[in-house]
Amino acid sequence: MLGYLLRRILAAVPVMGVVALFVFLLLRLTPGDPAAILAGDNATPERLERIRESLGLNEPLVVQFITWVNKLLHGDLGTSLISNLPVIKMIGQRVEPSISIALCTIVLAVIVAVPLGVIAAWKHGTWIDRFVMGLSVLGFSMPVFVVGYLLIQVFAIELRWVPVQGFRSIFNGFGPFFERMILPTCALSFIYIALIARMTRAAMLDVLGEDYVRTARAKGINEVAVMMRHALRNAAVPVITVIGTGFALLISGVVVTESVFNIPGIGRLTVDAVLARDYPVIQAMILLTSLIYVVVNLLIDVAYTLLDPRIRY
């Protein structure tokens, strides 16, 4: 198992290498002078030269890449062109809210969606099944911002149960953090509940037709045990896959949610950076996103081996 983990982590190195190369070339290979792009339309020649100098654009491409990667490995992601702050610091300040929303969303989605899917499959073809499926169609068709504003209207403005927007760090007390987390989490998890419930139901329906489920019933054990012990564990692999890829896709959902609830996360940071053409920040965000993808995929594969003894690498 440990050897497998090690090999998988080693295998991730070339992937990240390719991503780094792509990110590096992103700036260098855009048509025109990168310095001119960075400086904007009204730049003086001196400013252009300064930018070239600071980015090392006068060196050969290979040397530039090596210097850049070397800095990267030392945690230096460059300096923002807008705020002049180190990029790593900017991301560090913004990462907590985003990670909080993403994790809360995925946990809530799994807790709600998996039982819904199991029940729908178990009661396949009945009104319960149709109700769950109807709910999931609704979940798919409601955009995050619509759900978000609806929730704000009802629970924050009308009922005044929770604050309208904003974010408090969990380190400043759980209560304020939790209060402000509920609505964004609910809004964002809507679509994931729909997705995971659907997938769970489909995977369960597949498994319920298997011979070993018939064997389990022939043993005379009760239906709950048949569902949980025999069916769900076998249906888990495709469900885990969806949860994993869903988590990776969450990043885009987080951007919208952060805007709706006015939360200072990396989603907003990215949007701002793109609008301002703050290339160092954009590069860092691409690297970070890829890293999350790679790690999540690694976790999914590890989960496979834990869930299914037949899968060995």
Binding site: D211, T215, A218, G220, A225, R229, R310
Partner: protein, 549 residues
């Protein structure tokens, strides 16, 4: 007078919830007594599995519904019992083992825990007592190293071992009734023999009543006390084993028995001087498992296999699963590339030529696969399927379709079948279509890879007859891959016996199957179920004829 354990009386099972659905089971009555094995025999669709599932209360909900009659287990009515009561009865009073040991066990739970579940559901024993009882039961089903197997996952065990686990699971609470639904059909003959003996012995020790479902007359002859023959949901005939085998009263039973191929090889045909059309020379296939780091694993699937086949002759490759017989067939047809060795097809070496150069030779060798339900494209008409090959080789579409019609008639189907789709045909008819498709290219060699194994005996007999007739008319050579020695005895001129990728013995069928020289061939013949019966002639095999080790 022994007690009746299972009493099925005038049972009717219908399709669906709506009234007047078709009857799948139409008024059958059978009894199984203590210490008795009743074999329920019939071809596919006869309703034998539905009968057993109805008894266990395991019919798929809503699709099949018992609508009449009664099923009594030791006097207790099952059809009106609550779900709760049925759950209590399962595993304690009645238990079932299934056909596919490969899929009948949960792949993600160790087998010991799967047996333990039965004890946890139905007894109040503590963990230690349960484990002791399970290990004891596992020893009774003659599993080796029970402690190790207890903790193993199903995929670590062989098919035979899994079926032993299923039997242990079924019998651990000593039920009165054991229902065995084709429990040995998916197993090799040697394993089948062990499992049948095991069921017999356990039945004797525990006094269990066994309802044994099978399509295989050989198995019936081995294990049955009494036989019930089913057809299309009705009971055709019941009686003691000897009576049914020797003096069947009903026409259907007679036909069924006559269709069982004899283990006594047919009379050898004259030696032939026809040219050799197919030669395999020291053919080997090694599968290498590549590892990301470290050393890979090697599996030798075929090891220096040499064989020759003359025009108009049939060569059989027989062996159990994993013997490499299909690998050899696939290497010869070049569906997979052999690792080393040569294949000469009509005098031309084809083992190592490129796919492009191979193309003109492909039409000389064609293959028919085992499963007719999966080997024909469901979205393409039968005619297009047959014509596809010739069209690939430049025949005009119109001509190819005309030829398809002729071929369909040759294989005994109406010519207008060209415009129909595979799902409109039965398994046997589909296999005829697959044969017509193979013949469309006028091949010199026809490879039949377990081509009759998925078919019912009566259909099997017809397809074998068809192959024989086609061979006579077209002079085609047939390479016949089978695990079934009975089939091999009836169609092959020469046989090659394979084990672990190697050829163990080869020679004329009449010689190898009656006077085997190698121990493995002897063991195979010895394990063939019902070897002492000559079913087609309703008598025991005369001493001195057939397989004697």
């Amino acid at each position: 007078m022994t007690n009746t354990i299972l009493d099925i009386n005038n049972l009717v099972v219908s399709i669906g919830k709506k009234p007047k659905g078709a009857n799948i089971i139409d008024g059958i009555s059978i009894q199984v007594r203590e210490r008795e094995t009743l074999c329920l025999v019939g071809e596919s669709g006869s309703g034998k599995s539905v009968t057993s599932l109805t008894t266990m209360g395991l019919l798929p909900k809503g699709t099949l519904v018992p609508t009449g009659g009664s099923i009594k287990l030791v006097g207790e009515e099952l059809l009106t019992a609550t779900d709760r009561r049925l759950r209590q009865l399962r595993a304690t009073k009645m238990a079932m083992i299934f056909q596919e040991p490969m899929t009948a066990l949960n792949p993600v739970v160790p087998v010991g825990r799967q047996i333990d579940e039965v004890l946890r559901a139905h007894t109040s024993l503590d963990a230690k007592a349960r484990k002791k009882r399970i290990l004891d039961m596992m020893e009774q089903v003659r599993l080796p190293q029970v402690e190790r197997i207890f903790a193993s996952y199903p995929h670590r065990l062989s098919g035979g071992q899994r079926q032993r686990i299923m039997i242990a699971m079924a019998l651990v609470l000593e039920p009165k009734l054991l229902i065995a639904d084709e429990p040995t059909t998916a197993l090799d003959v040697t394993t089948q023999k062990q499992i049948l003996t095991l069921i017999r012995d356990l039945q004797r020790d525990h006094g269990t009543a066994v309802l044994f479902i099978t399509h295989d007359m050989g198995v019936v002859a081995e294990i049955a006390d009494r036989v019930a023959v089913m057809r299309q949901g009705r009971l055709v005939e019941t009686g003691p084993l000897e009576t049914v085998l020797r003096n069947p009263t009903m026409e259907y039973t007679r036909n069924l028995l006559s269709s069982v191929p004899s283990l006594v090889p047919r009379a050898p045909r004259e030696e032939t001087r026809e040219p050799v059309v197919l030669e395999a020379n020291e053919l080997s296939k090694v599968y290498k498992e590549r590892a990301f780091f470290g050393k890979g694993r090697e599996v030798v699937a075929a090891d220096k296999v040499t064989l020759t086949l003359r025009k108009g002759r049939t060569l059989g490759i027989v062996g159990e699963s994993g013997s490499g017989k299909s690998t050899v067939a696939r290497c010869i047809v070049r569906l997979i590339d052999p690792t080393s060795g040569g294949v000469r097809l009509a005098g031309r070496e084809i083992a190592d030529i490129s796919r492009r150069l191979l193309q003109p030779h492909r039409q000389k060798i064609q293959i028919v696969f085992q499963d007719p339900y999966r080997s024909l494209n469901p979205r393409v008409t039968v005619g297009e399927s047959i014509a596809e090959g010739p069209v690939n080789y430049g025949v005009a579409h119109g001509d190819a379709m005309k030829r398809a019609r002729e071929l369909l008639e040759l294989v005994g189907l109406p010519a207008d079948a060209v415009s129909r789709y595979p799902h409109q045909f039965s398994g046997g008819q589909r296999q005829r279509i697959a044969i017509a498709r193979a013949l469309a290219l006028d091949p010199d060699v026809l490879v039949a890879d377990e081509a009759v194994s998925a078919l019912d005996v009566s259909v099997q007999a017809q397809v074998l007859e068809l192959l024989d007739e086609i061979q006579k008319r077209l002079g085609i050579a047939i390479l016949f891959i089978t695990h079934d020695l009975r089939v091999a005895a009836q169609i092959c001129d020469q046989v090659v016996v394979m084990q672990h990728g190697r050829v163990v013995e080869q020679g004329p069928a009449a010689e190898v199957l009656t006077h085997p020289k190698e121990a493995y061939t002897k063991a195979l013949l010895d394990a063939a179920p019902g070897r002492n019966w000559d079913f087609a002639n309703f008598r025991a095999v005369a001493q001195g004829v057939g397989a004697t080790a």
